[in-house]
């Protein structure tokens, strides 16, 4: 999976979690919480959906790695690759 594909995976998840938000102008290098109305429970949802949909575990200490789409791509792409995706 490429980093761009990882970003799309995250957008798909976040679109379900924060379904009232507009994703057309989302900036990959800016913190998600600075662009979207996301609270701590939403981040738990995102972690849960990564677990359910992609069998990826994100330990609590590594939640900051999900701050922006770019950081998600850096952090998650190797995990997808490790799963053979």
């Amino acid at each position: 999976m490429t980093k761009e594909e990882t970003k799309q995976v995250m957008i798909d998840i976040i679109a379900d979690v924060a379904s009232d938000e507009d994703f057309t102008n989302i900036k990959p290098d800016v913190r998600l919480r600075d662009q979207l109305e996301l609270d701590s429970m939403d981040f738990l949802d995102i972690v849960m959906e990564l677990r359910k949909r992609h069998n990826i575990e994100v330990p609590e200490a590594e939640y900051p790695q999900l701050a922006s789409l770019d950081s998600c791509a850096e952090y998650l792409t190797p995990k997808f690759e490790a799963l053979g995706k």
Binding site: A18, D42, M48
Partner: protein
Amino acid sequence: MSYPLPRIVITSIGLTAPNGNSLADYRQNLLNGVSGVQPLDVRYMGKCLAGVCDFDPLKYQKRKEVRVGTRAGSISIYCAREAVADAGWDMDALERDRIGIYIGTTEHGNVETENEIYAISQFNYDTKYWSHYHNPRTVANNPAGEVSLNLGITGPAYAIGAACAAGNLGLIHATQMLRLGEVDQAICGGVSESIHTFGIFAGFKSQGALATHEDPAKASRPFDKDRNGIVVSEGGALYTLERLDDAQKRVARIYGEIAGYCVNSDASDYVLPNPTRQTECVRKALRSAGMEAADIHIVNTHATATPQGDIQECGALRDVFGEGCPDTNINNTKSFIGHAMGAAGALELAGNIPSFGDLVVHPTINVDNLDPQCALPGLVINQPKSVAKVDTILNNSFGMLGINSTLIVKRFIP
């Protein structure tokens, strides 16, 4: 008590029923014989007959709020918002810590728990897939809490668990809190999301009390000889109640006045009703209203179309209204909408309140073959009945573990 209690009036009604999402539509369908019962896919059970509501939750909630919250929460928010709008409350002018929210529920949490168990069953029952929203979704105060969040109301907000008497209990409890001066306005009534739990269908089926019929609209048939059980429904009806002087100060529209009530318990069985206690409940409510049986113009029955329950309630009503009540009409709203559980009492009362204005009593439909044991005098069958006078409505709601409630509302006369 030795001092006069404040008079409490109904200043609005917000509702969603299987056959209407506003009081006007609901009432029209009750007069036109329109049922709201349809087949519904129920997990593990297949098609069951149910009363299903089609209000738009996004009218008053964001998508995220609908996803995070519960169906009972969405029903409550819809009804509360509709009621607040109907009341004409200026929320910015009201002291929000002086508004109480009292919502009756038969049960809460079954839907959400079943959903989570089903979800983790897809992951070999590994509990790490269990939602972190489970606890806020399943706390008993969830429906009232979601209304407080949505409307920014900071007064007391809680649910009242009273089985299928709960809708009446919401109104009764609000009346008490207003009279005590604990709050200045109340949003109250009952809601139900019960059609989304297979457990309630399976439970009634195991009890031999789940209605079946080839025509869904004819499945809920209290007092008919061929009745075969309950149609489970969802829905809600929330009212705004205020003390009369407050309502008059703001020149509020007044739908009716709380005249009297009673809540009692059978103390005799988990499931089976007790007509002796039901009779006591009705008589005590009449006493609290300062009325005789003959003063009541509409009796809305609780009857759920179970073979035994209907007969027992009819026995209780015959004791009270059997003789000397020529102006008393008796009907049943469940024949249209099924049994809306915690919403039942509040929805059924709402369906009858317009009678103060139009002087029409909505009927009990689906009575093709009246059970002689249910042949009460004054029973309005299949067609609406125009009457000379409707000044009083007596609303019965009874529930499991033997809780009985009777609420009497009268035409408002200054």
